[in-house]
Amino acid sequence: MSFSIPWHALLGGMLLGLSAAILMLFSGKVAGISGIVNGLIQPKKGDTAWRAVFIITMILSAVFIAPFDINLPLVSTDSYLLIALAGLLVGVGTRLGNGCTSGHGIVGMGRFSMRSIVATVVFMLSAIVVVYFRQLFGAI
């Protein structure tokens, strides 16, 4: 069995790291998406414009790179109920746990924060267990 480096994943990941470094170095902010979004739900004066701009440019990015034949995948589902439940759990979980794959997994882990390392291990393990059961019940 041969293994080749997934260059897309590596390059994309490096862009995420560069983005997080730029946002923190120049503005002092954490590039955690759940945190940035939550700051728009619970707005504080003078702390919303940069969040809105970050989210809007993040959404537009997919449009800008589409001409390079890099496209969003076609996503479909058998169960909107499952998608809704997943969204609800991701929303509640990222608030209680203070971050998601970006805030904990990139910025927090990069800072060697113990809380973020623990959070990342916990959400990875819990997602792996869920996918195991999905496979067990033939959902994958």
Binding site: M14, L15, A20, L25, L60, I65, L88, V90, R95, F123
Partner: protein
Amino acid sequence: MHYSSLFRIAVAAVAGLLFGAGMVISEMVDPNKVTAFLNVTGAWDPSLAFVMGGALLVFTPIYHGVIKKRQTAVSGEPLQLSHKKKVDAPLILGASLFGIGWGLAGFCPGPAVSSLSSMNPVILVFIVFMLLGMMLANQYLAGRVCSLFYVKRGH
């Protein structure tokens, strides 16, 4: 508009564009790819490990070599870092719930938001319920859900 707020907007725009591009290029936006990455006991596809690896490869040296040595950001603003040290129950509970949601749909917040331009109903439903979940958790964290529950029980 002050020069400082323009600067902050420009930084957010550059960072947002890079982040969105990173999510799409890395294929984190593909829930099947994410599921295959999490499926360690089945047909495991480890490629998405390179996303976090690549991100840490760039962010970690810049943080420890440049950012950490500074008192403030280039804009003069404070570095808004969490100084919490304690691993507590909400962190573990929150991360567990987040992981369950992530495993169920293959979406976490970054990829879902980065995919919004598709106007795909799956993405829209996920985002709407994610926002709802955040609001619910905020109510809980502010102590309102518990007090509501308490009043109900009292009757």
